[in-house]
């Protein structure tokens, strides 16, 4: 078991390394493919009145003339020990972990990410609790009452949920529940959990429900399929043969076995949500990581975009790792290899 954990940790570290190389490579390559030179890149950071020498000097100071491997090395090193950016107007210090320095807003990227992370995390946790509870329950019931009106209705609603784009459901939800009927606060009303847990939950309820509607549809279908398969297994018949009540057969024997693939998918979904809840955060004006990515893209601020990409990748790798470890915990057959 320990060996398994260590192996997975090493694999995760390796993946993160590859991701960092790829991310850096992409953000290095694309401007150059679009015809940028070190000078044009540097000129974005020095203001309008800069002379050609200043531009060249800035480009040099920022390492734009260095080979890509050296640039990568500086950037990667900065993640661990911090970096200094000599901009001619002064030296900007970017403390460790330095995921990049936004020359447009003149701040390191990391503190912004740190500030916004709780918002995205709140969104992800709340929504996932809702969608797991709802999706699993509906999925199990549909599987048990397969073919009935309940089953067909539930699956149709699920199909609708999966098919409707979230920016539309989100806007509809805001429009009706928030602005028309005043049941929930409108966009941009986030309150931190540490400040006021009740208002925190109240403000996030609408985005939670919107996001959960989308995901619970998927999970209901997954759970239904998994349960239908599992309830045909031999060990279900054995459980009944022992005299267990049907509820225990379904939950303790059936659902328990059907849950493992759903767990894997949940890990992936949760990890993806951390870096990718762009649409939801935009619709509901939540200042999370997704919104940050949008800001970075509209400002063409590469360090911001790179920072968010890395954080998103980190959480996907992390959630994959956690799911792998949980899987070994849940399914004893995995542990011994």
């Amino acid at each position: 078991m320990i060996a398994y954990i260590i192996r997975r940790l090493l694999a995760a570290a390796g993946t993160l390394f590859v991701v960092s190389v790829l991310t850096f490579g992409i953000f290095y390559m694309f401007p150059r493919l679009a015809g940028a030179t070190p000078e044009t890149l540097a000129s974005r950071y020095v203001g309008r009145s800069a002379t050609a020498e200043t531009v060249k000097a800035t480009a040099n100071a920022l390492g734009f003339y260095d080979p890509v491997t050296v640039q990568y090395w500086h950037w990667a090193k900065g993640i661990f020990v911090g970096a200094d950016y000599n901009l001619g107007t002064g030296v900007e210090h970017c403390p460790a972990p330095c995921l990049g320095y936004s020359f447009i807003s003149r701040t390191p990227v990391w503190p912004d990410l740190l500030d916004r992370f709780p918002v995205t995390l709140s969104l992800a946790i709340g929504a996932s609790v809702l969608w797991l509870a709802g999706g699993l329950a509906v999925g199990v019931l549909s599987a048990l009452r397969r073919g009935t009106v309940l089953d067909r209705t539930a699956m149709m609603v699920a199909l609708a949920g999966v098919s409707m784009p979230i920016f539309w459901t989100g806007l509809m939800a805001l429009s009706f529940f928030s602005y028309r009927w005043g049941l929930f606060p409108g966009g941009g009303s986030y309150v931190a959990f540490t400040e006021n847990p009740i208002r925190w939950a109240y403000a996030l309820m609408l985005p939670w429900i919107t996001l959960a509607f989308l995901f619970s549809a998927q999970y209901a279908r997954l759970t239904r399929a998994g349960m239908l398969e599992t309830m045909n297994e031999d060990f279900i018949r054995t459980a009944r043969a022992k005299g267990l009540v049907e509820r225990d057969v379904v939950v303790k024997h059936g659902l328990r076995a059907a849950l493992t693939p759903i767990l894997t998918i949940f890990g992936l979904d949760f990890g993806l949500l951390i870096g990718g809840a762009v649409l939801t955060e935009n619709v509901f004006s939540l200042n999370g990581l997704g919104k940050y990515a949008v800001i970075g893209i509209s400002d063409q601020d590469m360090p911001k975009i790179m920072g968010v990409t890395l954080v998103a990748a980190f959480f996907i790798v992390l959630s994959n790792l956690v799911v792998d470890l949980l899987y070994a915990f849940v399914d004893p057959r995995v542990r011994l290899k």
């Binding site: 009944r240 043969a241 022992k242 005299g243 267990l244 328990r256 849940v330 004893p332 057959r333 011994l336």
Partner: protein, 338 residues
Amino acid sequence: MSFLEVKDLRVHFPTDDGLVKSVDGLSFHLDRGKTLGIVGESGSGKSVTSLSIMGLHKAGTARISGEIFLDGQELVGATPDEVRALRGKRMAMIFQDPLSAMHPFYTVGHQIIEAYRVHNQVSKQVARKHAIEMLDRVGIPQPDRRVDAYPHQFSGGMRQRAMIAMALSCDPDLLIADEPTTALDVTVQAQILDLIRDLQREFNSAVIIITHDLGVVAELADDIQVMYAGRAIEYGTAEDIFDRPQHPYTWGLLGSMPRIDQERTERLIPIKGTPPSLINVPSGCAFHPRCNYASLTGGASESEVPELLDIGDGHRVACHLTAEQRRKSWETDIKPKL
């Protein structure tokens, strides 16, 4: 009344292709301390019978009629809850493949404890001790350690023993073993059969052993019922069936069985044809299309369903051949070749 009485059991499954008559008029009885072997090909209705006794057919899929009495209590008409209360406690079942029949995520101990605590209000510690005792009784070494092992960590034979321990944890009066040794090595088979016999003697339970392997019933069964196409076509003691079989199908089964204790210089005699469709069961005697002697009955085999009739001392056979015809065929055709 015997401990287990089955009267005119019929189990039909409505399907899109038609009504599948898995069991069509089965009657037998079994007393405590005795073993009944139910023998037949795949599709003969053996497993369906046992699932009907246990009430394990999925609700709504099977149409069951007839009567099943377990120690006087009727099961076919009973409510699902009533039958559920009996499962594990008064009647238990072990299945063919112990690896798929046990939950892969729970330890063997947990599953035995669960079986015990369904019917006994005891603490987990008491149940755990009982589970270790059961594992010891079925011959699993180091039971106090193996109780925390998972099913996939056992070898095939040990797994089957663990399943037997689980089935017997509440001291049921009836044990149904559905092909308990089919998935095991031959050497392990013998051990498992010995175990079942020893436990039967200890608990004085009634045992039904379902198998297609005549060697298994020769070891274990007091009485044997041969099934074909959902009906019993011969019933008798083990001696009756092996030494004095009366039905052509039984002859076929014995003839197609390889024997290690006899010198066979002739080929095995397979039963010609294929098992019948249970939706379109052949008219009259279901076996007649495959029977070498159907022509001797003057058309009765095609038109009339033979009754299971007693031909002496409880030995029953469902066949239109006269006793004389049977004796002659047995002496001239079958016995020399066995």
